[in-house]
Amino acid sequence: MTIEATLPQLLRRNAEKMPDRHALREKDLGIWQAFSWRRYWEEVRDLALGLAAAGFGQGDKLSVIGENRPRLYFAQLAAMSLGGIAVPVYQDAIASELAYVLDHAEISVVVAEDQEQVDKILSLKERLPHLKLLVFDDPRGLLNYEDPILKSFEAVQAEGRVFGAAHPGHVEAVVEAAKPDDLCLFSYTSGTTSRPKGVMLSHANLLDPAEVFATTEGIRANDEHVAYLPMAWVGNSLFSLALHMHVGFTCNFPEKPETLRRDLREVGPTMALAPPRLWENALTEIMVRAADASPSKRRIFDFFRGVAERAQLCVAEGRPVPLGTRLWRSIGEFFVYAPVRDQFGLRRARVVYTGGAPLGVDVFRFFRGFGVNLKQVYGATELSGLCSVQPNAEVDPETVGRMLDGMDVRIAEHGEVEVRSPGVFQGYYKQPEESREAITEDGWLRTGDAGFIDARGHLAIIDRARDVGRLYDGTSFAPQFIENKLKFSPYIGEVVVFGEARSFVAAMIAIDASTVGKWAERNNVSYTSFQDLSARPEVLGLIRDEIRKCNSGLPEATRIRRFLVLNKEFDADDDEITRTRKIRRRFVTEKYAAVLHAFYSGDEEVELSTEITYEDGRKAILRSRLAIGDVDEPSAPAAAPSRRMAEEAVPAE
């Protein structure tokens, strides 16, 4: 498919073709306020004129920082309308990360959501030599700021209208002159391994996967979408910018992150995209609520959950679902499944996608069993976000589906997945060396993921290529696979497993504070703080039981033998996970070297001093002594030694 338009050109087309249809809807002051396509274009044009008046032009970079807000989209499109480049950044990034990206991208204009973000940018001003203008959306608390580079969104637009009167047709001329192959977006990767890299994408890069996806999946102009993902994630740009412009559906913005659940119910989106983390959280919440319900309700829930699971297993194994199960399922639809879907605002959802990281099989089956058409998609920032999706009839938790039209996949010799697609990026900004390395000589992108293609032609991803490990005896194991299995437990928040070149697998676990807290309440375990809770022997016992459950589904050799419950949660501010909540395995391995040592030297406890970073960037050292648990503590002492010996005998063979 050849792309013939740019994003701003599509915006103008939509404004002409369907001027009064709702393009955006934002909940403000408790009411959903709509923006028509005409208004969308006018807002973008006025802002673009204002930016032009301030000297912004071809090739200049504008960054947006904040939650999903219509004005941040106006800003991105305004930059693109002038031939500039939009650079969305993570709103929860700490100052040093932010300074790196903004400086590296040579940002000249930042559009910030509110005072919090303005303060952050102003504190970095000295380190940002290219910054000329800082525009804010919400004026609250900013009335008395007197920085010369600071301007309100309205003020810039007002200046734009004046400039527009003197230069009629200025923006329109630049928009029409633009080519689909022009760069329009830098998406900084969250960097699981190194400094963020600026992935350069053109209009065509973003629009091609969007167009193919819309055709394949039947996305329509009367669809309702909710934009709530981090602005800097490429998946968000693909859905809320490219797909939105191409299809012309309505994009809804929640009031604030805390109200998302209620807003989702009010909007009732017909399609949605959510990273695995959110599905895991939703499942945890359902489990907690079910456990808190009255015994009769709980029994009903458990019964119908069983029905859903049995039906899903039949589907997975390719057997027909027995008539009885089907009957129960239709009763369950009325009493349990539909009400649960409704709680999460998924009642009208035709299709929902998960992507960005693998989703546990159990979580996947649960939602499918409850009637949510959950499908996995696969992509990478370097592929403009998307290259494969599961067709409706071939949904399978183990794969990420088929390549979209016009895209190909192959597996390199060492097991790495390589993709060829019109979405393949234009290189990393100012990093020619890395750009060359990312693409093979014949133009395929090295994704860095390990995977295989199954008999049906579906792509399956195992893990990050470099993370697939081997135990000391050569047994290969995929840490992420085990981690996802563990995370199915509602009590486990985050987990990292180790085992590379070691004799067995060990796990470091951060408990889920809310569910374990509730569990403690029900079981009369008293505690004062997260630290205290995570060190309670009862909690260690609980986690041990959860690990045993998980172990029963793992091959003998890769079962978890030892574990430790951390006294803090993994935090992106501590660099332990990325902003998209992927574990930075190498960093964690280095940081917790003492734990690793204790795991494999047989110590019963470990002295740990961890550095924690507060939200404002201050650091502190947390010193503590943590117990290490053995999963198979001899419950019947006589039997245990022989079993252990048997297990240890495996590597020797």
Binding site: D28, G30, I31, G141, E255, K256
Partner: protein, 267 residues
């Protein structure tokens, strides 16, 4: 920076209040200018809350007078004073626990409502028009105080820090000219205190509301106040800018006791 106007908004002249033999407030005079944040500090039992109660009409002063915007309000009832534009929050939260956050804030608009019983009952004409206008204002406050996710929650189910915030919302719903805050940060942790301090500054900045603040946390008081008055055992012992008050020997004596002073002198 904020610039308080030179116009006097509230003036208390030699007010006193006794409870039996206890002299809660004795001959205290002070004035507050329009647009400023004035704090009253002092040890426990110094008479701070009694003074606030006299301004808001809960107590009637035994002697002295209080004027607000030039009118004598010394003997007015609390409801009449509220109608003039003086709102307050309480040291011990006084919210309706069985009502939602939104309803509690709407309640604060009550003194601004004019529709009669009948038309309110029919929800027609003026009553409907009024309800919509007041709801719009309540929504602005919910937005301002970032309570969007709690609109429909019962206040009794909220944690302490949030209930304090809702109470501030209800006081603001009056669109007050003068806002009296009685220990708005009592019992809060550092983060919650900073949040409330931010809201107080924003209220003052955005709507020009004059604020009288009673607070124990000295760091916050010194940080956000334009002027500070110090009470000790019912008497005013100092008044001035935060810096002046901090240096005042009488204040140091009241707060740290004479042992400290003795040591200072010895050194």
């Amino acid at each position: 920076m904020r610039k308080p106007a030179d116009e006097e908004l509230l003036a208390a002249t030699a007010v006193s209040k006794r409870f039996g033999g206890v002299r809660a407030v004795e001959e205290v005079s002070f004035s507050v200018r329009r647009g400023e944040i004035a704090s009253i500090i002092g040890p426990n039992g110094a008479g701070k809350t009694s003074l606030l109660n006299m301004i808001s009409g809960f107590y009637r002063p035994d002697t002295g007078s209080i004027t607000f915007e030039g009118h004598d309000i010394t003997n007015l009832r609390p409801a009449a004073i509220a109608a003039l534009g003086i709102a307050r929050t309480f040291q011990n939260i006084a919210l309706f626990g069985g009502m939602t956050v939104l309803d509690n804030i709407m309640l604060g608009r009550h003194v601004r409502m004019k529709a009669g019983v009948l038309s309110s009952f029919l929800y027609w004409g003026l009553a409907q028009h009024e309800e919509i206008a007041h709801r719009a204002r309540a929504e602005e406050l919910i937005d301002f105080l970032e309570l969007q996710d709690l609109r429909k929650e019962l206040t009794s189910a909220l944690p302490y820090g949030l209930r304090k915030r809702v109470e501030l919302g209800r006081a603001l719903a009056l669109d007050p000219t003068l806002l009296l805050l009685d220990e708005p940060m009592g019992g809060m942790n550092q983060e919650e205190k900073e949040d409330i301090a931010r809201y107080i500054l924003d209220v003052n900045e955005q709507w020009g509301t004059t604020i009288i603040l009673i607070e124990h946390d000295m760091a916050v008081v010194m940080d956000i106040s334009d002027r500070v008055g110090v009470l000790d055992r019912g008497r005013k012992i100092a008044e001035g800018t935060p810096a002046e008050v901090q240096r005042d020997p009488a204040v140091i004596l009241a707060y740290l006791g004479s042992a400290h002073q003795a040591r200072e002198q010895a050194a």
